[in-house]
């Protein structure tokens, strides 16, 4: 199911034989004014770096963005980011340049990352005419893949209501404090990926080629999200 685009990118920069325990990842999360790609836009981007299963705690990325569209009351309530807070922040162009630099050639990861990517790529295209070139994996897709092979484990036995990030990480005993913003969610997602890596090794997944294949971003994540709590919005 590889798209033409991804194949081209593979040739460009990715050595697919790097073991998953040594690969460099950037785990990201965005917060949006809403889920409508046409009307809504990015409020903030958070990301943490990870090499193999090692999360760098001090080397993180978090920027508020001055949104191109209006902040809606509903999203203000969820993110607790108010219009006045973001009004003075840099525009998406500046932030995206910094963000792509932060990502370098790492593999991008996120929970239902296709949502984040579609917003990020829309802005990228508008500004530079290109998509973000990095390969991307979806922790939800990895979860589903592992679930088929680990029916006996508690966290895979029954489907967790709504597949929401917080339900899954709770089951995997990832510590969560009250805070909810793009960086903290990226951090939590990174810890989920951190727990998946040994399970993937156990299941015979060796290099990032395999990982990219099984972690293809799951489209339509917004349907899951709409049914319950929000991850991005």
């Amino acid at each position: 199911m590889l798209s033409l685009f991804e194949r081209k990118k593979k040739k460009q920069k990715i050595d697919r034989s790097v073991p998953i325990s040594e690969a460099r990842y950037v785990v990201l999360d965005t917060e949006l004014t809403g889920l409508d790609e046409k009307k809504d836009s990015i409020v903030s981007i958070g990301a943490v770096r990870m090499t193999g299963g090692r999360i760098e705690l001090g080397d993180t990325f978090y920027r508020l963005v001055s949104p191109r569209t209006e902040l809606k009351a509903s999203s203000v309530i969820i993110h607790e980011i108010t219009p006045s807070e973001v009004a003075a922040k840099p525009g998406i162009g500046t932030v995206l340049a910094e963000f792509t630099e932060f990502c370098g050639d790492a593999i991008l990861a996120g929970h239902f990352i296709s949502i984040d990517l579609s917003f990020l790529n829309r802005e990228m295209k508008r500004i530079s005419g290109k998509n973000i070139p990095n390969p991307a994996i979806d922790t939800f897709a990895i979860y589903e893949w592992l679930r088929k092979r680990n029916k006996s484990r508690d966290c895979f036995a029954t489907s967790l209501a709504g597949y929401r990030l917080y339900d899954i990480v709770k089951c995997f005993d990832v510590p969560i404090n009250g805070a909810h913003n793009a960086l903290m969610d990226a951090f939590i997602t990174a810890q989920l990926l951190q727990r998946f890596l040994p399970l993937l090794t156990e299941a015979g997944v060796e290099d990032i080629g395999d990982l990219i294949n099984l972690g293809i971003p799951f489209k339509g994540g917004d349907h899951f999200n709409l049914s319950g709590e929000f991850s991005n919005f």
């Binding site: 903030s44 958070g46 943490v48 299963g53 090692r54 999360i55 760098e56 705690l57 001090g58 993180t60 990325f61 978090y62 920027r63 508020l64 006045s84 807070e85 009004a87 003075a88 922040k89 840099p90 005993d173 510590p175 404090n177 805070a179 913003n181 793009a182 960086l183 903290m184 951090f187 810890q191 951190q194 727990r195 040994p198 399970l199």
Partner: protein, 645 residues
């Protein structure tokens, strides 16, 4: 609002969590905020599923020091024969990988996750930088004994607001020199009383030091002297001050803690103590100064006791002792300071009760000595503990005198027992009391007891020895107790067999090292044990030190005093004296805290603590205390090899 963008505003949230964790973890908690920030920014985090081998023996050194954030690991070594020997378990807040990291060595042991485990990783470069610049940090890692950072444990305990009151200036942390002592005002001994009084009121001081012709201090005149010796007696105010001065000049060193000054005031029943600095007189400290320092005082309580004339009068006073403990805890006292004060107060209560009883019952037919033993004998009482007392009387010369003494002391001891009970000293369930005829005997019978215990160490004899050999005189003819002590000393010389029995006793209570697995291994369920601080912690220490004291025939009875005296006499004590003291102080303080909390919330005090409620530093301190006990028990086994069963 605008505009300068902080580079990473939100990263604080991740780092905040890390920092608040590190603040509870030695040695990171000794770092200042700036260094903590730097450390946190340089950390990474890894996750190891249960049973992961994190480091492997003989492999190249690890690249980072790992701090356990959650979960636990097992440290083990593989022997030549391939057996796995478990060395240690480490839990939350513990670190591993230090030695191989710094020593550039191969990894010395296997580290295996015994639970799903999260670790923070501190890179080598950062670690070396800290070791280079942060003394307390380095100390922690380089120490091989517990002595180096134990004082910080006290500091940490003091920081816990539930125990400590915050802004009080502290009796036990304030040195005499830090008190507001102005230059000493003095006058010559032939100064007229009135003139001296004028100097005192001009300077607003309550005492004046009197110097002789050679300009050496010979006495002191206080407000009390003016009141009692001049005004009340109608003395001529033109007489020289030397006629009314008190010549007992009690001194403290400027470096002593104020607490020492209080003890001296209590002991000598005075209000002013001379402060000496570098050999010269530096000032005077008064009980008023100390009262101001501490609010209410143990001193006032002892005054209260001394002024009582009946047992009934003592009862309300004795009830205040628990408050004193609370006060001392609040002031950050060490355990030994608390027990010192409590002992001083309890001794006074006991003496008063014995004194009143004697007064009521008339002159005894022969001299006697009231002795105490057990924790009272060791001066290690905290809250009211059971009565442990006995009576030695002088050997009667005739049968008639013997009968009279028996009658008298039987009634006497019963009265004292009841009086002590009224003052809140519970009866001894094992009936180790002078009111038991067995423990109310003439000196020669006591000597016979001791001889038979030492020469025929039955189980009961050993039990008796352990209790009674900690005896000290409390009231009456003290020389009777001293004679008995001397007798015991010569009895014990070369009694290797008897000491062997005590040695067995001292190694009987092995500390629960494995107990610490429960910090590490399971989240719930199987290891919900609590820890008996007395049986597992204090008793082995006391038994070990008593054994050493009896080996050397020293007459000190308190554990800490024994250690101090043995320091220069006993090879094992010489090596471990500081560790012993710290371990003893630490466990004792934990116990006092625990019991005080129970009393404050209306529960009966016990010795059981829940180790999970301890801070990491406390856990570590207690663990190292146990390791010390274990090590010394091994040395004892070695020493008494042939006598250990």
């Amino acid at each position: 609002m605008h505009s300068a963008i902080r580079p990473n505003p939100g990263s604080n949230m991740i780092l905040e969590d890390v920092i608040s964790f590190l603040k509870k973890v030695p040695p990171f908690q000794f770092l200042d905020d700036e260094n903590l920030q730097t450390v946190a920014r340089n950390l990474s985090m890894e996750f190891y599923p249960k049973d992961t081998v994190i480091l492997k023996q003989d492999e190249p050194p690890s690249d980072a020091l790992r701090i356990i954030k959650k979960g636990g690991v097992k440290v083990s070594m593989t022997s030549e024969h391939g057996d796995e020997v478990v060395i240690d378990y480490r839990g939350e807040g513990d670190t591993f990988g230090f030695l191989s990291l710094v020593g550039k060595d191969r990894v010395r042991s296997n580290i295996t996750a015994v639970d799903d485990t999260l670790c923070y990783l501190l890179g080598k470069e950062m670690l070396l930088k800290l070791l280079d610049s942060q003394l307390s940090f380095t100390e922690y890692f380089l120490k091989s004994h517990i002595t180096k950072y134990i004082d910080r444990t006290y500091q940490e305990m003091q920081d816990k607001s539930m125990f400590y009151g915050g802004s009080d200036r502290l009796l036990f942390t304030t040195r005499v020199a830090d008190m507001a002592i102005k230059g000493v005002i003095s006058t010559q001994e032939d100064t007229a009383i009135r003139e001296a009084a004028v100097i005192m009121s001009e300077n607003r001081i309550s005492s004046i030091v009197i110097m002789n012709r050679n300009n050496l201090p010979t006495g002191i005149v206080t407000d009390r002297d003016l009141r009692e010796k001049v005004v009340a007696k109608g003395r001529n105010v033109l007489e020289p001050v030397k006629n009314i001065m008190s010549t007992t000049l009690i001194r403290v060193d400027a470096r002593d803690y104020c607490f020492e000054a209080v003890l001296k005031m209590i002991k000598y029943n005075i209000h002013h103590v001379l402060v000496i600095k570098d050999g010269a007189m530096a000032g005077v400290i008064s009980n008023h100064d100390l009262m101001m320092l501490q609010g209410t005082s143990p001193l006032s309580l002892t005054k209260d006791i001394e002024s009582q004339q009946t047992i009934e009068g003592l009862i309300p006073v004795s009830k205040k002792i628990n408050n004193i403990v609370g006060l001392l805890l609040k002031e950050g006292a060490k355990a030994s300071n608390i027990t010192k004060v409590i002992t001083e107060i309890n001794d006074r209560l006991v003496r008063k009760v014995v004194e009143f009883t004697e007064r009521k019952q008339g002159k005894p037919p022969v001299p006697y000595c009231w002795i105490v033993f057990g924790s009272e004998g060791r001066k290690e009482q905290t809250f009211k503990t059971d009565q442990d007392n006995a009576l030695i009387y002088a050997d009667p010369a005739t049968d008639a005198e013997a009968e009279a003494a028996k009658q008298y002391f039987a009634a006497f001891a019963g009265q004292v027992r009841d009086g002590l009970l009224q003052c809140g000293f519970p009866l001894c369930p094992a009936n180790y009391m002078a009111s038991n005829p067995q423990w109310c005997q003439p000196l020669r019978v006591w000597k016979k007891y001791f001889l038979s215990w030492v020469s025929t160490p039955t189980a009961e004899a050993v039990l008796n020895s352990v209790a009674f050999f900690d005896f000290r005189p409390m009231f009456g003819e003290l020389s009777l107790a001293e004679t008995l002590r001397d007798d015991l000393k010569s009895l014990l010389a070369d009694q290797k067999v008897f000491l062997g029995y005590l040695a067995n006793m001292a190694i009987k209570n092995q500390p629960p090292i494995g107990f610490f697995k429960s910090f590490v291994v399971e989240k719930g369920g199987e290891h919900k044990d609590e820890l008996n601080l007395k049986i597992k912690g204090l008793a082995p220490l006391i038994d070990i030190v008593r054994l050493f004291a009896l080996e050397k025939g020293i007459s000190e009875t308190s554990t800490l005093e024994r250690i101090e005296t043995l320091r220069s006499m006993h090879t094992i004590v010489e090596e471990y004296a500081d560790d012993f003291e710290h371990a003893f102080e630490f466990i004792m303080l934990l116990r006092i805290h625990h019991q005080y909390q129970q009393l404050s919330s209306g529960q009966a005090p016990d010795n059981f603590i829940n180790p999970n409620r301890l801070s990491n530093l406390e856990k570590r301190s207690i663990k190292e205390s146990f390791q010390l006990i274990s090590k010394v028990q091994d040395l004892i086994i070695e020493r008494y090899k042939s006598l250990i069963w």
